[in-house]
Symmetry: C2
Subunit: 291 residues, 2 copies
């Protein structure tokens, strides 16, 4: 399949997701209007949707229709948005926004940004627990919730954010840096492919393992790609440029990309759209944000 | 049953909860150690445990053993702790702590406090989804998750916090104030009794309604009790003292207490421990914090 076909599919998935998110967010006419408007501002028409794309791509590789995972895709994006809103706060990354798009705390205020993130997190679990558009059994829903909760908690994403803060100013090894990223950005990307696998009960356990390895390698490759495109690393913050030279970063990226494709071998030809997506994300696609 | 018996039971429930929470929080020796230590600081040996107490009391009224709801009690307290940590942040209530107990952001730092709250919220859902000590079917677990997620989201607790912020400096009517409290403190207290009811599949739907009405009235009564004991209302913040005189507050409290007991009538004599608990909370018990 061509990259053009992949780009078209990515566009279709994004359009579908946008509509699904719009339906699930609280109405900005309802009280508290400011909170609701801020939630919509932080989720709609923003972001690269890397996590939902990987979920849709994995679902396709496993023979699922988009409708079967649309609600799960929304949950992932709600979590990604919450994490970005809290990450941007002055007490954490202190990022007021870029590309003409103000961060939540800059467009609204810090208190609202805290509450927006909190409400987006619980909305994600609400969607997984009760959304009627998720045609999954109670057992599958529970496994989706358990997977997501574990991926974003102290053992996953939030723990990775804390490790990142704790490592400011310290010189890490590549192994330490990648252990940090494995939680900070890897955990939610792994959850994205594994949630799709949970929605496909016929997928063998060994495929879950392969998909997890695929996502782990791809997450690091995306991280390197993003840092190769950054003007400069944030001062004191752990990053590849502080540890290895640009040429070594490119070599590591190539190796990780190859690893991610190797991991997909057990899925055979069915995984072609997922391979296309990985290539597209690393080439034409967005440089994924760190959270 | 005497108040002494109730006080003894409260003590036993708190001890049981403390142990259950200790087991479920991440180890402070594991990385990231600072985040884990802060999570334990914010949950262990602190708080009045009003939500778990109401869950245990309701469970007893419905013939359930403590072991059947212990995990759900933990989830409630993790949520209560997360909400308190975020609420105390400078951008929201700006409360550095009281009674010799520093708030999370004062004992650690603001960034850690944001992450602690985030991680506690996801841990609560992780417990409900996967905790082996919860002897509930997948269907019941899902309903617990749906109930909790809805209670704490934009339509519940977090929405109530936003309404509170939006109402600063405005003069509310009693009805507006109580609509605000119904979300800000009522939603999680209602969820506490309703989660116990979900764990008792034999409890008829009409009992859920009765228990919900009980919790709604009790939540407002606890709010008034707390504000009668406050030295003074926070400047500009919506509160009963800004709306009605102390004598009218006492009358409203008595009326709400009576309503809460009336709501329990369909549960008959079995609800006696829950009536005792309501009386104890309003008399000898703690003045519940607003979130």
């Amino acid at each position: 399949m061509s990259d053009g076909a992949c780009a078209g599919r990515v566009q279709a998935w994004r359009t579908r997701l946008e509509q699904a998110l719009t339906q699930r967010l609280p109405d900005s006419d309802a009280e508290p209007t400011r909170l609701h408007a801020a939630m919509r501002y932080c989720v709609l028409n923003v972001g690269e949707r890397v996590h939902p794309l990987l979920l849709f791509g994995t679902a396709r590789a496993l023979g699922l229709a988009e409708a079967q995972v649309e609600a799960a895709a929304c949950a992932l994006e709600l979590i990604h948005a919450y994490s970005r809103v809290h990450d941007d706060l002055p007490a954490l990354e202190d990022d007021a926004g870029a590309d003409g798009r103000a961060a939540c705390h800059a467009a609204y205020d810090e208190g609202t940004a805290v509450l927006v993130g909190d409400a987006l997190q619980s909305l994600a679990f609400q969607v997984l627990a009760g959304d009627e558009a998720l045609p999954a059994s109670a057992d599958i829903r529970l496994r989706l919730i358990a997977l997501l909760a574990e991926a974003i908690g102290a053992g996953g994403l939030t723990g990775g954010q804390a490790l990142d803060v704790e490592a400011h100013g310290r010189q890490l090894t590549v192994a330490e840096l990648e252990a940090l990223y494995s939680r900070r950005t890897g955990a939610l990307l792994r959850a994205s492919v594994l949630m799709a696998a949970e929605c496909a009960p016929q997928a063998a356990a060994r495929l879950h393992q392969s998909l997890g390895e695929f996502a782990t390698a791809l997450a690091l490759a995306l991280q390197i790609r993003r840092q190769l495109h950054m003007a400069r690393a944030a001062e004191g913050r752990p990053s590849y440029p502080r540890v290895i030279a640009p040429e070594a970063m490119r070599q590591r990226l190539d190796r990780l990309y190859a690893q991610s494709l190797e991991a997909l071998q057990p899925l055979g030809a069915a995984a072609e759209p997922l391979r296309d997506l990985a290539r597209w994300l690393l080439a034409d696609g967005p440089a994924a944000r760190p959270s």
